[in-house]
Subunit: 351 residues, 4 copies
Amino acid sequence: VAASMVQAPRTGTLDFGSRNSIADVKGVSVGHATLGDGWVQTGVTVVRPHPGDLYREPLPAASVVLNGFGKTIGLVQLDELGLLESPIALTNTFAVGTMATAMIRHAIAANPSIGRRSATLNPVVAECNDGWLNDLQAFAIHERHYAMAFDAATADFAQGSVGAGRGMSCFELKGGIGSASRVSSDGENVVGTLVLANFGKLSQLTLCGVPLGRALADSATASEAEHGSIIVVLATDAALEHRQLRRLGLRAAAGIARTGSNFGHGSGDIVITFSTAERLARGARPPNARRTTRDETLDPLFDAAAEATEQGIVNALFAAETVEGYAGHVRRAIAERVPDWRARLARAEGP
Amino acid sequence: VAASMVQAPRTGTLDFGSRNSIADVKGVSVGHATLGDGWVQTGVTVVRPHPGDLYREPLPAASVVLNGFGKTIGLVQLDELGLLESPIALTNTFAVGTMATAMIRHAIAANPSIGRRSATLNPVVAECNDGWLNDLQAFAIHERHYAMAFDAATADFAQGSVGAGRGMSCFELKGGIGSASRVSSDGENVVGTLVLANFGKLSQLTLCGVPLGRALADSATASEAEHGSIIVVLATDAALEHRQLRRLGLRAAAGIARTGSNFGHGSGDIVITFSTAERLARGARPPNARRTTRDETLDPLFDAAAEATEQGIVNALFAAETVEGYAGHVRRAIAERVPDWRARLARAEGP
Amino acid sequence: VAASMVQAPRTGTLDFGSRNSIADVKGVSVGHATLGDGWVQTGVTVVRPHPGDLYREPLPAASVVLNGFGKTIGLVQLDELGLLESPIALTNTFAVGTMATAMIRHAIAANPSIGRRSATLNPVVAECNDGWLNDLQAFAIHERHYAMAFDAATADFAQGSVGAGRGMSCFELKGGIGSASRVSSDGENVVGTLVLANFGKLSQLTLCGVPLGRALADSATASEAEHGSIIVVLATDAALEHRQLRRLGLRAAAGIARTGSNFGHGSGDIVITFSTAERLARGARPPNARRTTRDETLDPLFDAAAEATEQGIVNALFAAETVEGYAGHVRRAIAERVPDWRARLARAEGP
Amino acid sequence: VAASMVQAPRTGTLDFGSRNSIADVKGVSVGHATLGDGWVQTGVTVVRPHPGDLYREPLPAASVVLNGFGKTIGLVQLDELGLLESPIALTNTFAVGTMATAMIRHAIAANPSIGRRSATLNPVVAECNDGWLNDLQAFAIHERHYAMAFDAATADFAQGSVGAGRGMSCFELKGGIGSASRVSSDGENVVGTLVLANFGKLSQLTLCGVPLGRALADSATASEAEHGSIIVVLATDAALEHRQLRRLGLRAAAGIARTGSNFGHGSGDIVITFSTAERLARGARPPNARRTTRDETLDPLFDAAAEATEQGIVNALFAAETVEGYAGHVRRAIAERVPDWRARLARAEGP
């Protein structure tokens, strides 16, 4: 994986953190449980926004639904309270219910009063449809896979055909998990993204502004109808309130658009954004004051969010290995399907 | 149950249908699976919007989130597409994931191509927290309870401490499932509601405009903090598009408010609205035309929605039997807790 | 006016401030410019959220659109930035443009760099349709009326048929400007409302839970179709962020509903909420921290908002004097139209 | 203008209509009133959605607020009712109130009962801040300019530094009015856009995927802070309901993003969308049925909306002539500021 990451083309101009991943936002870690066996090509990815217990120490959070053809769980309460009180689990469309239940049990194990003497948990689960490579009807994801992914969380996580990304497709190429970071141009904050990329038609594929997909699709059969999705998890260490996190999350749209997508009808394009600037404490007395950020200073964060999202998608494409799965379907890695991608990009950049 | 229903005071002035329930909207039926055993006092209620297969023949639908402290599943896609493609399942907070999975399996059994050659299902599940009477940590709801409730669906369904309403509390009295209908004043349409009533502080309780709760709460201990919820399912036979269904759903707020609630912070107050005027057909060629309703004629429907919602809540209170459950907690029926309720109301109505 | 205020029935149970008006939120003042001459019965009311210059020191603010049949100006930016940077002007439907221009000129007079070296102003203007008593086509409101109302602002302002309320009708009675306050039950904060009440059918009128309008409408001609509106300005001294101010604003819906309205199709029911806890400073360095309020403590504020809104509407009805205007139309004060209102209410409250 | 239009680079791959403008949507016309005199460089542009009277025959419409730092008028009611009942006027930030009043008077002249015996008008006005080239404090726009622009409406309208676009800047180049159209790939419908382009930093400028601005900004002084805006008016002849028009409008975000913008904090990025498929008739009996479009067939329209928006912005840049205005400020046409733009693009496209 590391090898393929190296070769992914770089989007934009902003600096990135030492890992060029969401883990450049201090405290964020990611874990996978990957199931790759014959017709079962699926998994679970868990984003842990901080190393502690989110139920006890929730974070300010918000969501943006760009196109709501998706089955996320937890966004209604997340936006009403502006709080994320669980890790974020990503998985396939048929496994969201199982993940929600697993997350509740997991939280109870650490907080035995949940649902008895203290409030219930609002688990946040998002999904994409991996049914082309994965036999959804196998219902292969079980509750235990949540803990596996949770326990595996690390700042140095794999990308591509892993975890929830195992069976995902992007621009009719192999997609999956991608991550990136960008430092705001004022140097004050970092924005990190983790995407579950499962969207797009090949004819639309655009890399660094170059519409690679047009030529590719010309020489191939007609593009498939889009029935994918993209989930963008966007983290920042800036101190933002709910309204500002929504504003930030919208900028993921720019990153997605630059890879060629017009937010297809059948694609659940959903952004979940959180700030790690301050852990809130359940049940504690109100803080006398909280750090804030002026809206006038948000542009560097907006630019970082857009660019990190675009890079995250590109990284997903370049990290993903070819996978064969359900009914013998094969989804090829971009470097295998477009071996001369480097020449095609170089030509566009000129001498 | 029928006996207690008779005595429920009547709210408002509009006529109602023959059943004074959501089943007065032709084709709608409701089924329960009730678990009442010791510390387990919970269940599942399924609203079937028409007798057919919702996946094959979805209905126009919309949701309104009045206060989003709740864990519904399915609203994002329901509002993006303006479609309800599953029955609506109501249950306790910890069982939403299990219900979602059960609904997917149930739909696959009838439509084996789901998730393989045809689109996935967007199950719609809503919940309230019955943790005072029910041991949530027992995780007593299993997938089979969905089919039990679905199969039990009938136009002549029970109300009160049944199905998802088994363990619910309302104004610190026993709450649960209530239903009502109202005919629009122009006689052209009917609006039916089914509520899962689990909200409110006793001190707020208002019946037919009479603030009964003030006196009751004076003589009792301090009101508990509200951590309930109310789900309102609102059906109509009028031909409404998504935008109009949202407008209609908002009027449930008036009905809730008139029972005394101010939409408490901890209450997930959520409305799901659908129209039975026309079944849409998945995959079929577009209809050349669809029936529509002019916004200028919506007021009679708005009045019906508000009044039916208020009546539905009142019916839940009066249909509900006393239940003892988790940790020996007891929630009393209104007629037991306020035996002179009739006199209190009569006095207010004057000679 | 003071005389009629005394007799207005009291809604709810919470304490109110010394003025029982929005001016109980410290710093808030209100001014009117009233035009009452023959067919011209209209005016302007200005709410000044603090005595300073809002452009230089904006306040956290939010809006809630319950029913958007209205022509407010300024809400898009108010909600994007969560800021109120102008007073709030209320007037008739045809005068919103004139008010917006007047407010820009007024702000430039105090801040000559506006639109040149510094940002433009986002004026906030809301309206109701007073076309039954006022000849809208006279376009009687001019820019100077803004300054007149602004300069007249005081904590001891008149209510009823004054300012923007001059030509308004409410429940087919004379309506207009009403104001009230409530202290949160924890004693920590005050919520004040100012309403421009121009909505409702007589048959719906409900006072303190008593459906007075039913009997009145029976003995009269058929109710008119509703084409009114209500604007609710809701102020609090609690330190709330934008998301919380939206939550607070929604509770005005409960107050409106309890007066009998179901948010009629033709009624622009719009709430604008602001917090006076902290004046923000344009262009200043970011504050290191801002005071905040925990959502768990919002219920007392929610209750205060609902009750103050209901009382504000009742106060509008009882403060308003009979007005004759356009085409000889007459709208009667409630005490004139329903002289025995006191007996009707008393009967309902019982011995 | 025609000359400069010829040279504008072509974005995307879809066919366009005979005019490559919003007037390819049959019935749509556009008129300008342009004020260019010394420090006054501003104007009014009116989009007439059909040649008739919009008050009598409104159209289905919707709006999408991508970034709400803007002072539009009319969107609240437009989205509540899903109706556009006036032409759309574009102008500068200080003139929105004047335009609203002018539009009301204009509608009354044709419909003398407005505000007396029939409903008021909801005028729709959008704006950008042209304060760099235009002395906003001159308040140079008067009511008569609305009628001038309205009367000048034609299918063969000018673009660039005309009408509301006279004083606008885009990517620190001369911007203004641009228009384009795209035919959906299924050949069934056309989507047309008219933009008022006043946004972007030079360093971000991207043409046809080529990040031209990076090099330009390197060799220049630091980019200015963004305080612009973009208004996108999006028309289609497809029969879409309000929810679908919102979905369509969101796709303008992709077009904007591809020109380099990340929806800057200070930019009011607002989309207004309407369908000309069917004129509705005020006060008429409800149609028995209306034509509809299945969501499954929307992707070709989405692609057309994104591409036409991008092209509209490019056309605005290439049609706009250099303008000198307020305080001697000069904004140069792209061909003047980047004379070798053609070579820069060609290099990127390779041999």
